[in-house]
């Protein structure tokens, strides 16, 4: 509709998301600059982008996390905006501030919003204020260990002890009784201080059988719309491996409540850009609780794009360029069911050992309802310095059963020679009746893996 004020976008990320951002920018008629480390010169994103700029040596700390080098690359190439992707500096408030201070556009919310939502205790308080249910626990950071122990007793064990500055599942401990709590809480605090420079902790009730459900929102600083929910209950070591949209078992009235609570919270913080509000859904009681808000585009955004027919990355760039929301809530209609699986350079038959290799023959799945967002090409040497995500295979169909069938078909078409991937895991998972019936929760996958190692090995064996 309206042309974005952004002319040239610098991508301060790598891998499949960099490829995704280049595509979105190009669809908007925006030029692209791929910032990259010395290890990523041959990456698909660098080959695709209009321009490329080296920002440092392989180590992420010296390149993708190097604020000065990234700002210099933007200046040198004449870029007027920076997209941070996910991970790296995407949720670094100081980086968002530095980009703005340099007179450039940060594709995401303001540094203040990132700071607010990145402080878990502050985000929780904000959620409560907006009327969003939160997991029973401490109101804010705990200072007094005796008061904390009393509160833990009151909400009932087991309780989770979390670092206020932590993330990605780090710094979490579970106390099963008061005695354990008195040992673990001070430990968690000193560890958080060492790891994050902030010893603040808070406590939360553990929900034994929970699903991970999250709501996608898009805001322009005033208005906020939601794009329904995703379910990401299949996790290994708190990392998502399989995501779906919508959540198959959510009742319509709960879905409505959940999505409107997400909009209420995003509106309360005048949210600008794409964001995700994460919830735990208690399977036994049907209650949902706010966990955190991610102030960036997420890895699993394509499942939402598939059911809502929206380009979330394009929309976030358009909003950053000064645009208003281009859709109203009543125009957002979801249709069908989408599933995403994460293809990592890891060997699922050998304890998910990472395996950076050289891509040999590559056959990618295609056809109706199939999308493959990835960074691969034949002959590409995967650098060992970054995370193991190679790409995401996404399928869409009219309903979940058909989507599962299509996923099986697409995995059958996929061939990545030269390195092990997590594809055999998904072929094995497709044989699980519990998954077919969606009888899963966040702690379902790990014991399933222990029981089904032979099946995974068998699925992996056919490619070798």
């Amino acid at each position: 509709m309206d042309k974005s004020s952004i002319q040239k976008l610098l991508i301060a990320n790598r891998g499949e998301i960099a490829v995704r951002i280049i595509r979105a920018a190009r669809d908007l008629g925006i030029e692209t600059v791929q910032a990259h480390s010395e290890a990523d010169t041959e990456s698909r994103a660098v080959l695709m982008a209009d321009e490329a700029a080296v920002i440092g040596p392989p180590a992420a700390a010296k390149s993708y996390l190097n604020v000065e080098a990234i700002l210099k690359a933007a200046k040198d190439t004449g870029a007027d905006a920076i997209h941070p992707g996910y991970g790296f500096l995407a949720e670094n408030a100081a980086f968002a501030d530095a980009v703005a201070d340099a007179g450039l556009i940060f594709v995401g919310p303001s540094g203040d919003t990132i700071r607010l939502m990145g402080d878990k205790a502050a985000a929780r308080a904000e959620a409560k204020k907006a009327g969003v249910p939160t997991v029973p626990g401490s109101d804010g950071v705990i200072e007094d260990m005796e008061a904390a122990a009393a509160l833990a007793e009151e909400i009932g064990f087991p309780v989770m002890i979390k670092a206020a500055a932590g993330g990605g599942g780090r710094g979490i401990r579970i106390a099963h009784d008061a005695e354990e709590f008195r040992t673990l809480a001070p430990q968690a605090s000193s560890e958080a201080k060492a790891a994050f420079g902030d010893g603040g902790i808070y406590i939360e009730k553990v929900i034994e059988r929970a699903r991970h459900i999250e709501v996608q929102v898009l805001g322009d600083g005033e208005d906020v719309v939601h794009f329904y929910e995703r379910e990401c209950s299949l996790q290994r070591r708190r990392q998502k491996v399989w995501e779906e949209a919508p959540s198959a078992l959510l009742k319509e009235d709960v879905r409505r409540e959940l999505c409107s609570s997400a909009v209420a919270l995003a509106k309360a913080v005048h949210y600008k850009g794409a964001g995700t509000i994460e919830y735990l859904y208690d399977d036994e009681t049907g209650a949902f609780y706010f966990i955190e808000m991610n102030t960036r585009i997420q890895v699993e955004h394509p499942v939402t794009e598939m059911i809502c027919g929206v380009d979330l990355v394009g929309e976030m760039i358009a909003i950053a360029g000064g645009g208003k929301l281009r859709v109203s809530q009543d125009q957002i209609i979801r249709e069908g069911h989408a599933i995403e699986v994460r293809l990592n350079a890891e060997d699922p038959s050998n304890n998910f050992m990472p395996f950076p290799g050289v891509v040999g023959e590559l056959l990618t799945p295609d056809g109706p309802g199939v999308r493959f967002d990835h960074m691969l090409y034949p002959g590409y040497a995967i650098p060992p310095f970054y995370d193991s995500l190679l790409g995401k295979l996404i399928v869409w169909a009219e309903d979940r059963d058909k989507a599962l069938m299509r996923l099986k078909r697409a995995l059958g078409e996929l061939k990545i020679d030269g390195l092990p991937t997590t594809a055999p895991l998904f072929e094995a998972l497709l044989e699980s009746d519990e998954l077919r019936e969606c009888a899963v929760h966040t702690r379902w996958l790990e014991p399933w893996l222990d029981k089904n190692l032979d099946l995974i090995r068998q699925k992996g064996g056919s490619d070798e």
Binding site: A39, P57, P58, A59, A194, A345, E346, M353, P354, P356, P384, F385, Y386, D387, S388
Partner: protein
């Protein structure tokens, strides 16, 4: 001349210390026994210990702390 070379079996980033604020596992001149940890190699955000596969005295580290390492590259020389 080094009598023995300890090689990294995997590619990644080589670390001589268990954590940034801790002393190195081994320094030049230190004696090592077979099985001692010489350093860490980080591959795709997971850390693997590289252990000495012989006894000896450390005479050199051809790869610096936090530097990239390739599979099969020598990380420590023993005399």
């Amino acid at each position: 001349m080094a009598k023995h070379e300890v090689k990294s079996p995997i590619p990644g980033t080589f670390y001589r210390k268990p954590a940034p604020d801790q002393p190195p596992y081994k320094d030049i001149g230190d004696t090592v026994a077979k099985g001692d940890t010489i350093g860490l190699v980080e591959v795709m955000k997971t850390f693997h210990e590289v252990k000495a596969d012989a006894d000896g005295t450390v005479s050199g580290f051809p790869i610096g702390d936090e530097e990239p390492v390739m599979a099969g590259q020598t990380i420590a020389e023993l005399d």
